[in-house]
């Protein structure tokens, strides 16, 4: 643990992003203080989240691409076996949950599961390792660097919004624009209760991406926060850290799986007509 005046400051520093955007004085650059960061508007970007996200994505895609290039139907090697295990798990989940035909769903689910899992996995790396490495490389001991992309709401929202647009796209593609709107208007109580239907259906529809993004973000943010608190307790942090990490393995896998599963379920709903009332 580097030198900090208080635990609060340590945690606060860990919560800061490496943020690039327009500062209050109009110049563009990286924010060095929380105030500077908060003053930046929408057109700013978290370099640390994006970097880790892309790095992990490239690693995951690289491994899978490497395996897929040499994929054989003969006896698979260790890596191919592992990759096939994941692909088969995703494929089985898709088959049992998604009943329409859509070539996109499998790869989409696989990407979501693996990528989110990789990001979540960064949570198990001791909290200071990656930020300190980044600070060392940048030669800036006060560098803000957040190692776990899924503790950034922007990243989880990026997933959720993409899924949300896919839901809308496929709903309109399968049911037509009228059919898509009709789901809000004439469901669940029939056409005579149109206002009530709208009041019930529109929020529940809009809640899908919000709940997707917040669920993942909340779980991982809380998990990381506990790692940080554990990191503050001195020598006793080792057994505590280990215990929480073991428990966290479950959480990160579950959250990645849940995100994938809900995506499949939502897209399945987009592909099927609601039962008539």
């Amino acid at each position: 643990m580097p030198e900090y005046e208080s635990g609060t400051e340590y945690i606060a520093h860990h919560l800061g992003f490496l943020k690039y955007g327009q500062k209050a004085d109009g110049s563009w650059g990286i924010a060095h203080t929380m105030e500077e960061a908060n003053a930046m508007g929408f057109w700013s970007i978290h370099l640390d989240s994006m970097f880790m996200s892309l790095l992990l994505g490239v690693i995951f895609m690289g491994v899978f691409y490497f395996v897929s290039r040499k994929a054989t139907s003969g006896i698979p090697g260790g890596l191919q076996n592992a990759v096939e295990f994941i692909v088969e798990m995703v494929q089985t989940t898709v088959k049992s949950t998604f009943f329409a035909r859509n070539e996109l769903i499998g790869p989409l689910a696989l990407t979501i599961f693996c990528w989110i899992f990789m990001m979540n996995l960064m949570d198990l790396v001791p909290v200071d390792w990656i930020p300190l490495t980044a600070a060392f490389i940048a030669q800036d001991s006060h560098l803000y660097f957040k190692a776990v992309p899924t503790t950034d709401l922007n990243i989880t929202a990026g997933f959720a919004i993409s899924v949300f647009f896919l839901i809308i796209f496929f709903s309109i593609k399968i049911k037509g624009f009228g059919g898509f709107l009709g789901e809000f208007a004439f469901h669940p109580f029939g056409k005579w209760a149109l206002p009530l239907n709208l009041i019930m259906e529109v929020p529940s529809f809009l809640a899908k991406p919000v709940s997707l993004a917040l669920r993942l973000y909340g779980n991982l943010f809380a998990g990381e926060m506990i790692f940080m608190v554990i990191a503050l307790v001195g020598l006793f942090q080792l057994p505590l850290h280990f215990a929480w990490a073991v428990f966290h393995i479950l959480i990160i896998t579950l959250q990645a799986y849940l995100f994938m599963m809900l995506t499949i379920v939502y897209l399945n709903q987009a592909h099927t007509e609601p039962e008539a009332h």
Partner: protein, 156 residues
């Protein structure tokens, strides 16, 4: 914590990765999986078929064996019959041959006896004549007594 352009960057990255996965990762791996599944199914089916074929072949072999046994028993029967037939035939033949030989020998013996009798007769005639000559001390007209001597000889 507020949303900023990171969300857009992440969405773009997500779209690119999904596209990449759709294009280059998913198809070959699922194809390999499906192919292996098919291979295994084929293998199992082949094993089943082989087992069935084996059973069939075993049944067939047992049938053939049984049939062969029956046939061989028949052949042995026939051979036995044929053998006894041959032996009987041989016996008959031997008997016939023996009888024929015996008959031949008998005939020869009779002939021999006949001949001996002739010779004896002739000699007896000669002896009788010479005896008579001696008794009579006179020469007898052989030609005149030929008839008498022959008659005497035939009575022997």
């Amino acid at each position: 914590m507020n949303l900023n352009a990171t969300v857009i960057g992440q969405s773009i990255a997500f779209a690119v990765f999904v596209w990449f996965c759709l294009k280059y990762v998913w198809p070959p791996i699922t194809a390999a999986l499906a192919e292996r599944q098919k291979k295994i199914a084929d293998g199992l089916e082949a094993a089943d078929r082989a087992q069935r074929d084996l059973n069939l072949a075993q049944n067939k072999a047992a049938d053939e064996l049984r049939e062969a046994k029956v046939k061989s028993a028949e052949i042995i029967d026939m051979a036995n019959k044929r053998a006894s037939q041959i032996v009987d035939e041989a016996k008959d033949k031997a008997r016939d041959e023996g009888q024929r030989l015996m008959a031949g020998a008998q005939a020869e013996i009779e002939m021999e006896v006949q001949r001996a009798r002739e010779v004896l007769r002739a000699q007896v005639a000669a002896i009788a004549i010479s005896g008579a000559e001696k008794i009579l001390e006179a020469s007898v007209d052989q030609a005149a007594n030929e008839e008498l001597v022959k008659k005497l000889a035939s009575e022997l």
